[in-house]
């Protein structure tokens, strides 16, 4: 996305090692106001590590995080007030009520008692918890707790919202509500950094996506830009019966197949030209007694992009 909007977040050359694991390896990206940027990558790719450095709770080995040009570090306090941080783990106090949870963090953000009360009431409305505000969080459903958790990042009207897999372990209904919430926030001008390992979420929500694998940002761009990386390649979805792992191994050996990923009850194949290589794939599978029940040739998506870039599936 090329706009004249000033950068809200700028990460430059971020690096972090844990003992012998390089969790984040020279990662740079920027996010503009009103833009939603997704970090898409499998578990262990380094998303949380990046987010922690952006939120100023983890010291990078190298590189800088700037929020509106102001450096963020573990020691700075001022720029942290511009960031709304929603960690991956559900971070609420179960023995406090929703209102108490929110009020505590609002006050920590420096809000006066009166201002905090006003913002808390507003945020309770945004996340749909006004009715249950004075129940303890331990009595909330999982989805409600998630919403409270996200609301805590909004209290101080940050200019950058950082969400680390906010839909993890949430029922589909709550998940949709959360996604709608985030979209609305983006419309209000917030810059949003969003990590996920769900391709669908990244496609639905994010203006731009950074594909992250083994600590490296392997590609970046809008969905259209990323899919264009695939060139003439096609995506084939196969539904198969029987041993999926075996089917995957067989498909991988077909020469025209560039990548294979098991997904649900089927396989996703990345191929050069679907029409040309489909017969070869089907006969190879038939030879090995793999029964194919359905075949679909699809538009490539971000999953395909990931497969193309890494040769592996986003989710195993």
């Amino acid at each position: 996305m090329t706009t004249d909007t000033p950068e809200v977040l700028s990460c430059k050359g971020l690096r972090k090692r844990f003992d012998d694991v390089t969790a984040v390896d020279d990662v740079s990206f920027t996010i503009a106001a009103g833009e939603t940027y997704g970090l898409l990558g499998p578990n262990g790719a380094g998303k949380t590590t990046i987010i922690s450095m952006v939120a100023g709770i983890l010291r990078p080995d190298a590189g800088d995080v700037l929020v509106e040009g102001v450096p963020v570090s573990t020691r700075t306090t001022e720029p942290k007030g511009r960031i709304g941080y929603v960690p991956q783990e559900l971070a609420v106090y179960p023995d406090l009520t929703g209102r108490e949870n929110l009020t505590f963090f609002a006050r920590l953000q420096g809000l006066s008692r009166v201002a905090a009360a006003r913002r808390v009431a507003h945020v309770l409305g945004v996340v749909g918890l006004t009715d249950r505000a004075d129940d303890r969080a331990e009595h909330y459903s999982g989805g409600m707790r998630r919403r409270l958790h996200i609301g805590m990042g909004l209290l101080h009207e940050p200019i950058l919202l950082v969400l680390d897999e906010p839909t993890a372990g949430v029922d589909p209904q709550s998940r949709n509500a959360i996604m709608d919430n985030i979209r609305e926030l983006a419309h209000s001008g917030l810059a949003i950094l969003y990590t996920t390992h769900y391709m669908e979420e990244a496609e639905r929500l994010c203006d731009r996506v950074g594909v992250i694998d083994a600590g490296r940002l392997v590609a970046e761009g809008t969905r259209r830009e990323l899919v264009a990386l695939l060139g003439e390649r096609d995506r084939i979805s196969l539904s198969v019966d029987g041993d999926l792992g075996h089917a995957e191994d067989v498909a991988r050996l077909v020469p025209a197949v560039l990548g294979v990923a098991a997904r649900g009850r089927g396989l996703e194949l990345l191929v050069h030209d679907a029409r040309q290589c489909l017969p070869a794939v089907l006969s190879a599978l038939a030879e090995e007694d793999v029964r194919v029940r359905a075949v679909e040739v699809d538009e490539p998506n971000l999953e395909t992009v990931f497969l193309h870039l890494t040769g592996r599936a986003l989710r195993g």
């Binding site: 922690s52 939120a55 100023g56 709770i57 983890l58 010291r59 573990t74 020691r75 306090t77 001022e78 720029p79 942290k80 007030g81 960031i83 941080y85 960690p87 991956q88 783990e89 559900l90 971070a91 609420v92 106090y93 023995d95 406090l96 108490e100 505590f104 963090f105 006050r107 920590l108 953000q109 420096g110 805590m152």
Partner: protein, 389 residues
């Protein structure tokens, strides 16, 4: 500071909703303190700390100095009471019946032996179940007979110098001269807490090492719950988080102990001593306990682990420091080792305070403060990575 107070206020609200804090600060210490003071109350009880009998089978002048001067002087402070038994048999019976803790027996010819320059011994027969009281009696008797050695020398010298006075009178006079040794004995027995106060204080300081956990150890809970990340991402200094936890510990510890002081005074009749002195000891005691607990917390990975280790540390230091049994009064190496226990200093401070002078608590308060400073310093060095300072 604002952030630390907000964190402490939040913690306290959580702790008040948590029944375990009430159990540890009030129910257990009060219950156990009461049990201990009832069961072990015979050890010493109130003004009537040690009850003795004396039987004078000698009837001579030197024996009379002991029965009519030394013992009455020793009982002046109210630390001991002495009753006169008509015979050795009666004295022994009083001990057997548990009416007295120990009996002094002045054997026949006690005075004569002193006059003749021979060794003279006061027998002390004590209740085996009251080693403390018997020990005090023995030291009273020994300090007197030890003095007789010098009396023998001075009587002999006077006679050689041609004194015409009755040697027995001379000996009695010499024996009754106040001796520094005796001056030490009496304050020593006076500087003791009665059993009720001792166990009330022992249980209070013992449980203090559990209650202060509710502050510093909750840092580990916050880390596991993920809320620590959220705290650290707030626009506050990381040190504020540590300080907030510290304040929580201090408030829970101080309020808990203050309530225990009041409750044991009213319900059990404990006599803690001058409020200012007690206040100084409680505050420094709470600091010391928090320091020790902070070190344990900084070594542990989870709050369960910390809780387990802290229980071991609290029980060890408590036992060593005399929270269950007055270790210091046993003497010997154990009494010396007990000085590594903050519990010991807390109880010692209270015992010193029982003498009436508030300033007497200062050495113990100083020792407790040293525990606190060493604890906080160590915990900071070990734990600062936790909050990424």
């Amino acid at each position: 500071m604002r952030a630390s107070l907000l964190i402490a206020a939040k913690d306290l609200r959580q702790r008040l909703r948590d029944r375990s804090v009430l159990v540890f600060t009030l129910v257990l210490p009060l219950g156990l303190g009461l049990v201990f003071s009832l069961v072990l109350g015979d050890l010493a009880d109130g003004n009537d700390v040690f009850r003795y009998a004396v039987a004078d089978a000698d009837g001579g002048q030197v024996a009379a100095v002991f029965t009519h001067q030394v013992l009455p002087a020793a009982s002046e402070g109210g630390a001991i009471t002495v009753r006169t038994a008509s015979s050795t048999q009666e004295a022994l019976r009083l001990v057997d019946d548990g009416d007295v803790t120990a009996a002094f027996i002045l054997p026949p010819a006690f005075t004569a032996r002193v006059m003749a320059g021979q060794e003279a011994v006061i027998e002390v027969v004590g209740d085996v179940d009251a080693p403390l009281g018997t020990g005090v009696a023995r030291s009273l008797a020994e300090s007197f007979t030890a003095r007789l050695t010098s009396v023998r020398v001075s009587v002999a010298a006077a006679l050689r110098a041609g004194s015409t006075r009755d040697p027995a009178r001379l000996a009695a006079e010499a024996a009754s001269v106040p001796d520094p040794l005796r001056q030490v004995e009496i304050p020593a027995s006076r500087r003791e807490l009665d059993a009720t106060t001792y166990y009330a204080a022992g249980m209070s300081v013992f449980f203090l090492f559990f209650t202060v956990q509710f502050g510093v150890t909750s840092l580990l809970d916050e880390r596991r719950a993920g809320t620590l990340a959220r705290l650290l991402a707030s626009p506050i200094r990381p040190l504020s988080v540590l300080l907030g936890k510290l304040i929580t510990s201090l408030v829970v510890g101080t309020v808990g102990t203050a309530v225990l002081v009041a409750a044991t005074s009213v319900l059990m009749g404990a006599r803690w001593g001058h409020p200012v002195g007690v206040g100084i000891l409680v505050l420094t005691g709470v600091l010391a306990a928090t320091g020790v607990v902070a070190v344990v917390a900084s070594l542990a990975r989870t709050s369960e682990q910390a809780g387990g280790w802290q229980a071991v540390v609290a029980i060890s230091l408590g036992a060593l420091g005399g929270a269950f049994f007055p270790v210091a009064q046993v003497g010997g190496p154990l009494a010396v080792i007990s000085l590594v226990s903050p519990h010991r200093w807390f109880l010692r401070g209270l015992a010193d305070l029982a003498g009436g002078d508030v300033r007497a608590v200062l050495p113990s308060a100083g020792a407790l403060t040293a525990f606190a400073l060493v604890g906080f310093g160590t915990a900071y060095l070990l734990g600062r990575r936790e909050v990424r300072l």
